[in-house]
C-alpha cells in the first residue's frame, strides 16, 4: 500500500495556514446560560456543530484564562470554517468580538441580553447562523502536506485486546506519520505512570524528559492522595491473573499507541505543538477531557483505541474508533471504524493492522464520516483546577 507520506491530504486551507479536514459551522455557547439558545439557533442548519458545555461564569485564578483560551481555540480550530458565538451579556459580546476580529474567518457574536425576549433572541441567532453558514458554501479542498496534520491519540474502555491489538496497531501507524513529517499528540498523564524509563529514554532532549517526568510525578502524587500508593497496588490482582507481570508492562499497553519515535515536546493543556513531531500533553484523567486538550491544540482528527466500547470523541475532530475485541466489534459495529481483531484471532501482523488504520484515516481526512460523526457523538470538557463552591 502507498505510504501516507506520498499523498498528503486534501483539506480546507485557513487564513492562518492551518488546514481543516472539515468545514464546520460551530455554534458555540460560551456560557451554560445560552445552551438552549444554541440548540434553537442550530435547528434547521445542516451540519452545524453545537458545543454547549457546562461553561460557567465566576471562575477565579487559573481556571478563568484556561476556559477562555479553550473556547477561543474551538473557534480557531482548523476544522471550523465559521462560528456563531453566543454569550449572555452585551459587554462580554463586545470583548468576544474584539477577540475574534483577527480570526480571518466569519464569526458572529450574539448576546442573549441584546434581544427583547426569547423569540427575538432565537430569530437573531438563527439569522446570524444562516449568514455564517451561507459564507461557508462553495469552499473547496486543496492538497496539503502532512506537516499540516495533527492526530490526537487516546484510549478508553481498555481491555487485554487494547494492549495487544488496538494500541500497538495505532503505534505502528504513528511511526509512519511521524516519519512522514506529521504530528501526533498523546495525553492522559496518569496512563504513563510506571513507564517513566520508557518516556525518558524516548525524550528528544533533557528538558522534554524533565518536563514529562515532572508531570508524571504530579500525577502519581494525585493518584496516591487517598493514602494508597498507586505504584503499590498496580498491577492489580486482576491484571496479574490476566497475564500482566509489572506496572511498566501494564502502562505500555497504553503507551504502545505512541509508537516508538522520540517525544519532541511536553505541552500544557490545549497548547499547540510548535513544530511537527510526537508530543506528550499533560492532561488529567478522563478521556473526553484529554481529547478536549488535544483538539484545543488544533488536532484535526482523533485515533481512539477501545477494548470494550467507549463513546468518547470530539464534536470538532472526527474520531476513529479502533478495536481489537471481536465481541465488541460484533455488538458495537454501528459505532466502530477500524477492526484490528485479526492481530488477536488470525495471527495477522501489526503492520497489516496499521495499514487498516491508515486506510480508514485517509478516507476520513478526505471527508468520509466516522461512526461518531454519524451519531453526532462527542464531548468538550474543560478541566478545573479548583472545585466550585
Amino acid at each position: 500500500m502507498s505510504t501516507i507520506a506520498a499523498n498528503g491530504f486534501h483539506g480546507f486551507v485557513r487564513p492562518d495556514g492551518s488546514v481543516g479536514v472539515r468545514n464546520h459551522l460551530l455554534v458555540l455557547s460560551t456560557v451554560a446560560l445560552t445552551n438552549r439558545l444554541a440548540e434553537l439557533a442550530a435547528e434547521g442548519i445542516p451540519d452545524a456543530i453545537v458545543v454547549a458545555g457546562d461553561f460557567v461564569r465566576g471562575l477565579r485564578g487559573a481556571d478563568l484564562p484556561l476556559q477562555a483560551r479553550v473556547l477561543r481555540a474551538l473557534v480557531s480550530h482548523p476544522n471550523v470554517g465559521g462560528a456563531l458565538v453566543l454569550c449572555h451579556d452585551v459587554p462580554t459580546s463586545r470583548a468576544l468580538e474584539a477577540a475574534f476580529a483577527g480570526e480571518g474567518k466569519p464569526v458572529s457574536v450574539q448576546a442573549l441580553m441584546a434581544a427583547k425576549g426569547m423569540t427575538d433572541a432565537v430569530a437573531r441567532a438563527r439569522a446570524a447562523a444562516s449568514g455564517v453558514a451561507h459564507s461557508l458554501t462553495g469552499a473547496t479542498r486543496s492538497l496539503a502536506p502532512l506537516s499540516r496534520l495533527t492526530v490526537a491519540l487516546e484510549c478508553g474502555g481498555s481491555d487485554a485486546t487494547s494492549a495487544l491489538a488496538a494500541n500497538p496497531s495505532i503505534g505502528r501507524f504513528v511511526d509512519r506519520l511521524i516519519d512522514a513529517g506529521g504530528t501526533a499528540i498523546v495525553s492522559e498523564t496518569a496512563e504513563f505512570v510506571g513507564a517513566e524509563s520508557v518516556v525518558s529514554a524516548r525524550a528528544a532532549n533533557q528538558k522534554v524528559s524533565a518536563d514529562i517526568l515532572a508531570a508524571l510525578a504530579r500525577s502519581e502524587a494525585f493518584l496516591s492522595e487517598d493514602g494508597e500508593s498507586y505504584r503499590g497496588v498496580n498491577p492489580t490482582q486482576e491484571n496479574i491473573e490476566a497475564g500482566l507481570t509489572t506496572l511498566i508492562e501494564k502502562s505500555m499497553g497504553a503507551v504502545a499507541k505512541t509508537g516508538s519515535r522520540p517525544f519532541v515536546g511536553c505541552l500544557t493543556f490545549g497548547s499547540k505543538p510548535p513544530a511537527p513531531g510526537l508530543y506528550f500533553m499533560d492532561t488529567p484523567f478522563f478521556s473526553p477531557v484529554s481529547i478536549t486538550g488535544m483538539v484545543a491544540a488544533s488536532a484535526q482528527v482523533v485515533l481512539f483505541a477501545v477494548g470494550v466500547f467507549n463513546p468518547s470523541g470530539s464534536p470538532l475532530a472526527p474520531t476513529l474508533k479502533v478495536c481489537g475485541n471481536p465481541r465488541t466489534l460484533a455488538e458495537w459495529k454501528d459505532s466502530l471504524d477500524v477492526d484490528v481483531s485479526a492481530a488477536v484471532t488470525d495471527g495477522a501482523s501489526l503492520n497489516e493492522m496499521a495499514d487498516k488504520v491508515e486506510l480508514a484515516l485517509r478516507k476520513v481526512l478526505e471527508g468520509e464520516k466516522t461512526m461518531s460523526e454519524a451519531w453526532s457523538e462527542g464531548q468538550i470538557i474543560i478541566p478545573s483546577t479548583k472545585s466550585l463552591l
Binding site: 495487544l164 496479574i240 497475564g243 500482566l244 509489572t246 511498566i248 505500555m252 504502545a256 495471527g347
Partner: protein
C-alpha cells in the same frame, strides 16, 4: 492419551510478538495443552490467554523485553518456552 488430547498437543498456539526485539511473546488462545508455538518454538503446557512465553533462554538478572522495552528482569533462569510471570520476573 485420548484422540482429543493428541489433537490438542499437536496444535500450534497462536501468539503475538509485539516488537521485533522482544524476548517474550503473548499467547492468544486457550490451547493450553499444546506444546508448540505457531511458526515454531516451544511452549510449556498450561499458559493461558494473554500470558507471556520466553522466546529465548533468559539468564537470571537479564532483561525481559516486550513492546521493545524492558518490562522487568528475570529473578531466576528462564528457559525458552517457559511461562514468564510474577514467579520468575519482576
Amino acid at each position: 492419551m485420548t484422540e482429543q488430547n493428541k489433537a490438542a498437543r499437536s496444535a500450534e498456539r497462536r501468539h503475538l510478538t509485539l516488537s521485533s526485539g522482544d524476548n517474550v511473546t503473548t499467547v492468544l488462545d486457550d490451547l493450553v495443552d499444546a506444546s508448540c508455538l505457531a511458526g515454531g518454538g516451544a511452549v510449556v503446557p498450561g499458559v493461558r490467554f494473554g500470558h507471556k512465553v520466553a522466546l529465548t533462554d533468559i539468564a537470571a538478572g537479564d532483561s525481559v523485553v516486550k513492546y521493545g522495552v524492558v518490562i522487568g528482569h528475570a529473578t531466576q533462569p528462564i528457559a525458552k518456552g517457559e511461562h514468564v510471570h510474577v514467579h520468575n520476573c519482576c
